[in-house]
């Protein structure tokens, strides 16, 4: 299983803070995004926006980063702290 997290505006728009995704057939971050859109419907296209950041095990990664069972994958909008 991949643990998937959503934050801030994205969390509110999707109405979901966290979910579990089967690891089978989801070998990269990009594949996880596609699986989430396929499963969630049109609203989940939000995950494909240019400015959405992906973090794998709490480090920012690109779409081709490989996923392993037990990974933590986060999607979030541009940060605004400080």
């Amino acid at each position: 299983m991949i643990r998937v997290l959503f934050f801030a505006r994205l969390r509110e728009q999707l109405g979901t803070a966290a979910l579990e995704l089967e690891h089978d057939g989801v070998s990269t971050v990009a594949a996880a995004r596609e699986a989430l859109v396929a499963r969630g419907g049109e609203q989940w296209q939000l995950l494909c926006a240019d400015n959405i950041i992906t973090a794998l095990n709490q480090e920012v990664v690109a779409g081709d980063a490989p996923l392993q069972d037990g990974d933590e994958l986060a999607f979030y909008p541009p940060v605004t702290g400080g």
Partner: protein, 156 residues
Amino acid sequence: MTEARTEVRVQQADFDAGRELDELRLQSRRMGAIASFIGVMRDLNEGDSVSAMTLEHYPGMTEKAITTIVGEARERWPLGAVTVIHRVGPLQPQDQIVFVGVAAAHRGESFAACEFIMDYLKTRAPFWKKERTADGERWVEARAGDESAAQRWQEQ
């Protein structure tokens, strides 16, 4: 230089900047400079009056991201102790949001590292501000100026 202390805290509680500065100062007898920054909640943003704010974060990753940023600063400049504190949860105008304090032997290094850490924290650490205005709540938009402030360190 012996291993210098890095302290990173993400917390809902307020902090005492004076105590943090005293601790930075008393860590070493070799550090002649302490530069620090405090980010404060303003009651105005994008021309609108703001009455309150909530800071959301990604627990665990925030601390990790800030620690990485401080490590990058240490690769660029010889630094003494560094303290970064970032608050989360509900905030009011004039509340302290973030503290960055950097000790170094000389002032140029302490200033540069303190500003570097703030510029990177603003654009890399997973915090999000939601503010309350007369029209309701809204997520604060990221500023292009913050990204260019961080980018300029990569050209040096």
